[in-house]
Structure formats: C-alpha cells, structure tokens
Subunit: 377 residues, 2 copies
C-alpha cells in the first residue's frame, strides 16, 4: 500500500482495537514504515529501529518531503554497523506522528474528519504496542534487536519492559527512563508556543490550509537548543555575524534581523521543520515523552521493569548531552544490574551534545556493530 | 517628579543629546529611579545597584504594579549587606525598559507617538551612559561602588570600563563579559515568540490596548528555564503532578492541561510577567545583552578594558549557574589579572542556578558586605 501524498513506500492498516494507556482505544491503526534488507526464512534477523521525536521511518532512504538522505544512513545499510546484508531492518513512523501513521492529522473513521485534538493522548508504550501489531503483520515474532536514540531509546526500553520475550537485545542511546522536570519544562514551552498561535484553532486547522507554522517554528527553535551542547554551539557559531548579501563581512545592524549566524541557523531550523511536521503531532509526541516514566509503570521501581529478563542491553550516553545526560543512563544501568539483566554501558565523548547519536561518531558505530553481532559468529 | 501610572517615586528628565553606540542619539532621556539612604555631604557614599533583564528600580521598596517586596530587599536596607545606614543606594530603570525610563513604550517627542520599533537599538554601554547622566543630575561624581547581578553585573563591568575614574569598586555577580552563542540562541527564541504573535503588529500595539501577551509569556517561559538549575527544578518539582481542584492527589489527565507542577509554575511565570513588562522592551533589552561583548569594544582583548584601572573588582559566580557559568567569570578574572587590576573572585555553591543571586545566599551577603567595607574602617 502506498500513498503519494507521503511518498510512502509501505503502509499497513492494522486491525485493532488497540487499547491505549489513557483508557481510550483505537479501532484500527495505520502505520507508515520502511524496511531494508531481507527477512530470513526463520524470521530471526529482524532489527527494529525506533525514531526520535521529530524523526520518521526514512531511516536509510531519501525523505519524500525534503529529499534529504535518511536520518541514519551512516548507521544503516549494506556493510554498515546495522548491516542490511545481514539484518532485516524495520523503521516505522510512531503512532501520533504525521508521516503515514495514525495521529491527529489522520481521519477519524467515526466522523470522517481529521482527528485534531480528539485524537487520544498516547504514551511511549502505546507507540510500542502499535509497532508490535506491525511486527505481527510482518510475521516477525521476535526481534534480534531493537535500537533507538533519544525517544527511540525510550521505545527500546519500553519494548524490553513490555514484550521481553520478543526482544533479544536492546540498544538504548542518549535516552532516559523518565522525563525530568527540565525536560518537561522545555516541552511545555514548545506546546505553549503552538497553542498561543491563533492559527492553531484548538487543533482544528487542517481545513484552513493555514497551520500554526509560526508557533511550531518557535517550539522547534527552543527544542533545538537542547539538542546541541553549549561548547558545540560556540565552536560552530560563536558570536560570528552573518555575512552581508553583498559578501562583505557582517556587522551589527542595530536592528532585529538575524545579525548573528546562530540566529539565522535557528530561524532556518524552525522554518524548515514546519514544512515537514504537523503541529498537533508535536503536541501529542511531546506529551508522550513527558508522561514517560518507566519506573512509575512498574510500582515506582525501575528494576522491576526488567526482572528475569533475558534481553541483553547496551546503554550508550554522550558526555556533552545535557538533555538526557549520562547520569540518566547510569540510573538505567543500575536498575538493570539490580534486576540481574545483562547490560553493558559506555559513555562516549563527543562535542555535539544530544544530537551526537545522529552525527559522525565512529565509536558509536563500533559499539552498535559489535553489540549486535556479539555471540553470533 | 512622580507619575501615578508607574507608581513612580522618582523620575528625572535628563538633557541630552545622548549619543548611542548604534549611531543614533536621543535628544533627552527620562530615567525612573529609586534611592535608599542619605547622600553624605561630600557625596562619597553612593552605591549604584544595576538590575537584571526584567528587573527594575524597585530594589528595596514594594513594586507598584505587583505589590511585591523589592527584588533585593534581602541585600539592601538598614543593617543589611548593602547597608542604607551607611550607603546612599541608587537603582535606576535601564534605558529601553518600561518602568519610567525612556524605551519603546515612551513618547517620541518628534512625533508625539510611542516609539515602538522606531526606538533606537541600545547597548549595555548606552544604559550605563544614561545612568551616568542620572548621577550628574544627582550631583554624584564618583561611585563608592557599582553592584549588579546578571545583566546588572554586565553594567557594572561596563561602568568600570567606560568611566573608570568614577568607579571605586565593582561587584559583578553571576555575569559574563560577552553573550555566548547559546545565550543568543535562547534570546532569539524569545524574540521570535513575541514577533510571531500577530498582536505584536511590528511593535505598534500600544494603541490597540491588546499587547502580544501570549508571545511574551512564551518568551518568559523559555528564559525562565535558563535561570534555574536542572537539579533545582528536580528538587522543587520533579515529576510531581498538580493536585486536583477538589484537593485529591493529582493524576495524569491524558490531555493538555498543566498536569505537572512544573508546567503550572512555568505558565504562571509567563502570565504574571506580561502584567508588568512591555514586549518591545523585552526585544530591546535582550538585543542589548546579545550585543554585549566587552572585549570587542576594546580591540578584541578583554584586558584592554581595564588597563591602569584603579577600580577594585569582586567577581562572584554560582556553581549551578548554566546561563553564565563560572567559566565566564574566570575569563573576566584572567583579564583583570592580565590588566593588573585588583580583583577578587569567588565561586559560591547554591542549588538555585542563575537565580541564586536573587535568593537566600548568606555567603553572597557576606561577600558583598565585606567587599564594600574593605579598607573603610
């Protein structure tokens, strides 16, 4: 099934009902996804890669809207760390998002209208449940591995906690087992920026053809700062001024244009984002992240999420990540150790902050390649 | 001169022209200010306290709009670290702000209309120059000390660099000698939030009576996160939920209300701010901060700002301040040492992040009291 609107290659309509953590249930779920490589006859080589907040299924193939290469082409492909000559790699657009999966921009079958804010609030675990339906549909019982960075890492954790018998190994990169007060605070700023935009119209902006792009751009700008390290921003931009249109060296204009390169960069990040993302999806997915607290789902003790698990874990953090700092990965590792799980942990050094998992990091490549093939000669 | 609108006790109309760094000049400048204590006959006991971005002159007296106590009543008063039994303390609303000093909400004498975005872009040094005019007006040649935290600290630095012969001592708390790329980035998010609000109307919203409060609130929320430490937010709010209106313990609502206490707190901070602050002033003052780079004003070498100075300096940072971290204070201290200036430096420990200078900090009290009285038995 394909859909020209999204440039989708694959989309599955999965029969429900899908019962959600919030109490609602979806009668059926559509999931947009991509696959890379070939599923073995015994279906034992499947690797699920989970994407981050604003990511999508275009992991290792060009993005149909932006035309840019997939977001993890460095990591996934023939001969690459997640080697598609060996693994059958699946990446699906999360529930609640806007690249072919059911979300606020989808049609509510009960009304024939786009859901908008009538779409039920979802959790990370609900995203994982929808992915499990997709695996059923694809005939995959057990994953050789689930791999993800940032929100993808939270999904990997939730997979291991929710369906331990279906997960042989989990790679959790630059993630956390719960959103902190500061994490929630930054997301709340983004949500308020969207909701303050009069074009948001309580989420019912689809028919207007005029979405709350200004609010969404501000939300993206605020979030984007948290993805980069202070030192990385200084190295990349410092206080350098924008060159003038005539090519002359930049100067302060004593006005409110983007004098500094960092201002211009942020404005571009905000605007470009609005071309490819739905504002309501941003509300729903940030909410799912803020609700995420894996310990809370298990009686307040994180180790309980992993009791008697046979899953192998690899936890990776980056030293300059201040969004989900190494201390949060240590919390996971301590819980895994307390639960008697097999867990390895490494803090990698990178100048790039949280975004390091998406960028050039030969150490991360080695860790992921090695962990996936461990014990499989 | 008083003005009921602002609850002002003191306001001076200072003859110009005041030449500004951006090339424009103001024919005259109004400055709202407060004083505490008594000027000595020889005018040798004057201490200028400079306020932060959203601060004002109500240092140690109730705020006329909010009714709240002054923002540094802990520090300033009879017997307090800045002892008004001894010092004549002046605090003036900065140029560009909105509590009685000339700014975008003031009347442009040339047009009889409020300036709006026609007000010239100003710098920290311009704020200092306007304060110098106020001191002339008050008959104060030389300051026993200039003291400030955050943007107030930058003014203190700029005072010592611009009018070294007028400053005996400078206390620079939780400040920086230049805005970093990350500092600029956060301010740009705030400016874009304001400018994205359709009620902003390119700054010409005064006559509408309907200012861009939603955009200003978002700007304040984003900035507010940077004033607090991650650990402080966790200690204060963690993931605790709002109690329900009926007093029952909070629960996730699976909606977009403020479920978490930190969300409610931030929303309140944003809204409360819009009652007392002008959105255009927020644009102008953040711009002045982003433009601030004291080294740049002195041939690219910070030490040059302090060559042959007789001013004594006290530099104070807080260990959990990630807005202007201790490393930035060290840059100042190294430059002061290189210039042969008398400088003392202390990093204080506090859980409160950047806001520590406004909050309970007995160590800060001792440092300020001791430094001001040093050498004056």
């Amino acid at each position: 099934m394909s859909d020209e609107r999204f440039g989708l290659r694959r989309r599955a309509l999965l029969a429900g009902p899908l019962a959600l953590d919030g109490g609602a249930s979806l009668p059926a779920v559509e999931i947009g996804y991509e696959t890379y490589g070939t599923l073995s006859p015994s279906a034992d080589n499947a690797v699920l890669v989970c994407h981050a907040l604003t990511g999508d299924q275009y992991l290792a193939s060009d993005h149909p809207v932006t035309g840019k290469p997939g977001w993890w082409t460095r990591m996934v492909g023939p001969g690459k760390p997640i080697d598609t000559d060996r693994w059958f790699v699946i990446c699906s657009n999360v529930l609640g998002s806007c690249m072919g999966s059911s979300g606020p921009a989808s049609i509510d079958p009960a009304t024939g209208q786009q859901w908008g804010m009538a779409f039920p609030v979802i959790t990370i675990r609900d995203m994982v449940r929808a992915q499990a339906l997709l695996l059923d549909h694809l005939g995959i019982g057990r994953l050789a591995a689930v791999v993800g960075g940032s929100m993808g890492g939270m999904q990997a954790l939730s997979w291991a906690a929710t369906f331990p018998e279906r997960v042989e190994a989990a790679v959790v990169i630059a993630a956390t087992a719960r959103h902190s007060a500061q994490n929630i605070a930054f997301h709340e700023v983004g949500r308020q920026a969207i909701m303050a935009d009069p074009k948001w119209r309580n989420g019912a902006y689809y028919e207007s053809g005029d979405p709350p792009a200004a609010g969404l751009a501000v939300a993206r700008m605020a979030a984007h700062i948290t993805y980069l390290s202070e030192a990385g921003l200084t190295a990349k931009f410092g206080r350098r001024l924008q060159a003038r249109p005539d090519g002359q060296a930049g100067a302060k204009t004593f006005g409110f244009d983007a004098d500094f390169q960092v201002e211009s960069y942020l404005r571009h990040q905000g605007l470009a984002f609005t071309d490819r993302f739905d504002a309501n999806s941003y509300l729903y997915i940030t909410r799912a992240l803020d609700y995420f607290d894996l310990a809370e789902e298990h009686g307040g003790m994180l180790a309980n999420a992993f009791r008697d698990t046979a899953t192998r874990f690899c936890i990776v953090s980056f030293d300059t990540d201040w969004l989900y700092p190494t201390a949060e990965s240590r919390v996971m590792v301590q819980a895994l150790n307390a639960a008697g799980a097999r867990a390895s942990f490494v803090e990698l050094s990178s100048p790039f902050g949280h975004d390091a998992f998406l960028l050039e990091s030969p150490e991360l490549d080695r860790v992921v390649r090695g962990f996936l093939t461990w014990g499989r000669a």
